[in-house]
């Protein structure tokens, strides 16, 4: 077998391993679990509530607030490592972070101008 085919053999082995793993997990589960069918068990599980008919009462506004939260989340993710390295970076680092925060705040300004922040 040439070097060329041996390289692609690795790809084939990986695909085989991936399929075998899925088969193994489902197969072992099938073998060892007891089977006692009940109609209720075949209902789609959705956190304890009825999956059909009982639409949740969660307000669509929460979705927007969750999105806005991402602005501050991203800010925090980058500010922590930046704060550790601030001393050697000096004024340059400070200016860079101010620019970064200003660009992120633009997202909040956008939401504010579009009237998303009013709870009415």
């Amino acid at each position: 077998m040439t070097e060329f085919y041996r390289e692609y053999l690795a790809v084939a082995v990986l695909i085989g391993a991936a399929l075998a793993l899925v088969g193994l997990m489902l197969g072992v589960g099938k073998l060892i679990r007891p089977v006692r069918p009940q109609a209720d068990k075949y209902i789609t599980y959705e956190a304890g509530s009825d999956p059909v008919g009982g639409w949740g009462q969660s307000n669509v506004r929460y979705y927007v607030y969750a999105l806005l939260f991402v602005i501050f989340d991203v800010e925090a993710v980058f500010i922590f490592p930046w704060a550790v390295g601030l001393e050697p970076l000096g004024i340059f680092g400070l200016v860079e972070m101010v620019v970064f925060i200003l660009i992120l705040v633009l997202g909040l300004v956008y939401a504010w101008r579009k009237g998303v922040l009013r709870w009415a």
């Binding site: 070097e3 060329f4 041996r6 390289e7 692609y8 053999l9 690795a10 790809v11 990986l14 050697p88 970076l89 000096g90 340059f92 680092g93 660009i103 633009l106 300004v109 956008y110 101008r113 579009k114």
Partner: protein, 485 residues
């Protein structure tokens, strides 16, 4: 220990970023002047071309951020391509966005953000910066594909594009993480050094997964199934942008990663790209034959054209000179002009007929002969008929194939030649219907094409004709881009 930053070399990115922020602010605080944002956006794109030109004239290569971001002729050539494509996309967008029930300002902000990612992509020489650039390109386009939000087809387009985009990113990231594990670095130069040794067989798996991720982005068969539905459902200017700019960016990423990173492991990537190229050309063309909607036809034809662009990549390892890389650049430039042109004419015509079915183009030669002539030129160029630019695109591909000269390369060349013949059928079918069939009933309420749309058709038709007659223009650009590399 501040990082060294060359602001001249970063100027295209900075100009675009400032334009994006200004567009957003203008849209928010001066909402009663809707024409201001598009004007600002097109000015910003034109302004970003200026530093690309001055950098090209100065001619010194700049490497920043530990070699993760390099500005050289290669990057500048693609920057130029992306910015010109962005400008033409803006030109074809004005009417469509102003007429429809769309948010105006955000459209331009998202479009420019995607272009910013493309300009970054051309300079990226590190897996991390390539990935960030790719996501900057993709995420705004997910939203743009669903821009007609009251249209279920547009929603379908956005959802399909989003899911496939996320899936391809996941596959690609898995491959990249394996590469990082092997090479102990994300810089392409480090990976190139590593693959020059004798990497273990599992390294082929890493390359395989990474390239499959990119294959989704450039909609190569068998990873193409999202493209026709997304192209049909998205607003026409967005479709034009996706099938030209975003596709080209995917090819640039693939080209960069193969040229600077995987090149030494050509045994691993050449067969994969060979299969992708052959399958894309053949399947794309056969599916295009059966389409009755011109947008879907162009979608399948762009899959086939993508297959042609993969041909020089599939033989690149056996070509000693830069002719395979040059072929990719030249083909992308010509493809951009002819495909954007075709979409612009389809938009101009559909403003009158309110339809993109091929049957609605019947008899166009009598009703609107100027647009019929233009569309005929673009169709013949896409088919590769001299003296239009498309023939030169095909020519550089076959030159790369002959430079490689291996059996695999010649077989791929034969497949490409057969496909060029098949493609001629469906391109010429549109032309035949325009000139020889009877026009259907006249539809009411025509909307005239604006100056901007006409200008876009004008620019692209000039490129298609001039480059077809004087191909040296693009050939020289291709040589310059790869001269030092």
């Amino acid at each position: 220990m501040n990082p060294v930053i060359d602001y001249h070399a970063l100027a295209p990115e900075i100009v675009l970023s400032v334009t994006i922020i200004l567009c957003l602010l203008v849209d928010l605080f001066i909402p009663d002047r809707p024409r201001l944002v598009p004007q600002l956006a097109s000015l910003g794109v034109l302004a970003a071309i200026i530093p690309v030109l001055t950098l090209a004239v100065s001619g010194t290569d700049v490497s920043m951020f530990g070699g993760a971001f390099v500005v050289d002729n290669y990057a500048l050539a693609f920057d130029g391509l992306f910015l010109v494509v962005a400008y033409i996309t803006l030109l074809v967008s004005f009417d469509e966005i102003a007429d429809g029930d769309y948010y105006g300002g955000e459209y331009y902000v998202l479009l420019l953000t995607s272009v910013l990612g493309m300009v970054m992509m051309a300079s990226s020489r590190d897996l991390v910066s390539i990935f960030i650039a790719l996501e900057t390109i993709s995420i705004p386009t997910f939203v743009l594909a669903g821009w007609r939000k009251h249209d279920t087809k547009s929603n379908e387009a956005a959802i399909k594009y989003f899911l496939i985009g996320v899936l391809s990113s996941a596959v690609m990231l898995y491959g990249m993480s394996l590469i990082f594990g092997f090479a102990n670095g994300t810089k392409l130069s480090v990976i190139s050094e590593y693959s020059a040794g004798s990497p273990p067989a599992l390294f082929a798996v890493a390359i395989f997964l990474t390239i499959v991720g990119f294959a989704f982005k450039v909609s190569a068969v068998p990873f193409h199934f999202w493209a026709p539905d997304t192209y049909e459902g998205a607003p026409l200017p967005v479709t034009a942008f996706l099938s030209v700019a975003s596709k080209a960016a995917g090819f640039v990423a693939l080209l960069t990663i193969i040229r600077f990173g995987f090149f030494n492991s050509s045994d691993s990537w050449q067969p994969l790209i060979w299969v992708l190229a052959a399958a894309s050309m053949t399947f794309g063309n056969l599916a295009a034959l059966r389409q009755t909607n011109i947008v879907r036809m162009l979608a399948y034809s762009s899959i086939a054209q993508g297959g042609f662009i993969l041909v020089p990549l599939a033989v690149a390892g056996d070509v000693s000179g830069p002719s395979a890389w040059e072929a990719v650049l030249v083909y992308l430039m010509i493809y951009a002009a002819m495909n954007l042109g075709a979409f612009a004419v389809v938009m101009a015509v559909s403003r009158r007929t309110h339809s993109t079915e091929i049957s609605s183009f019947a008899g166009l030669g009598r009703v609107d002969s100027v647009n019929a002539v233009m569309l005929s030129l673009f169709m013949f160029s896409l088919a590769g008929i001299p003296p239009l630019a498309g023939w030169f695109a095909k020519f550089v591909i076959f030159r790369a194939v002959f430079d490689a000269g291996t059996t695999a390369a010649v077989v791929l060349g034969v497949i490409a030649a057969l496909n060029a013949v098949v493609a001629f059928f469906y391109y010429s079918n549109v032309v035949r219907r325009m000139w020889f069939d009877e026009a259907p009933e006249v539809v009411s309420s025509p909307r005239p094409a604006s100056v901007a749309l006409t200008l876009a058709i004008g620019i692209t038709v000039v490129v298609v004709v001039v480059v077809g007659v004087y191909p040296e223009v693009f050939a020289r650009l291709g040589q310059l881009a790869f001269a030092s590399g």
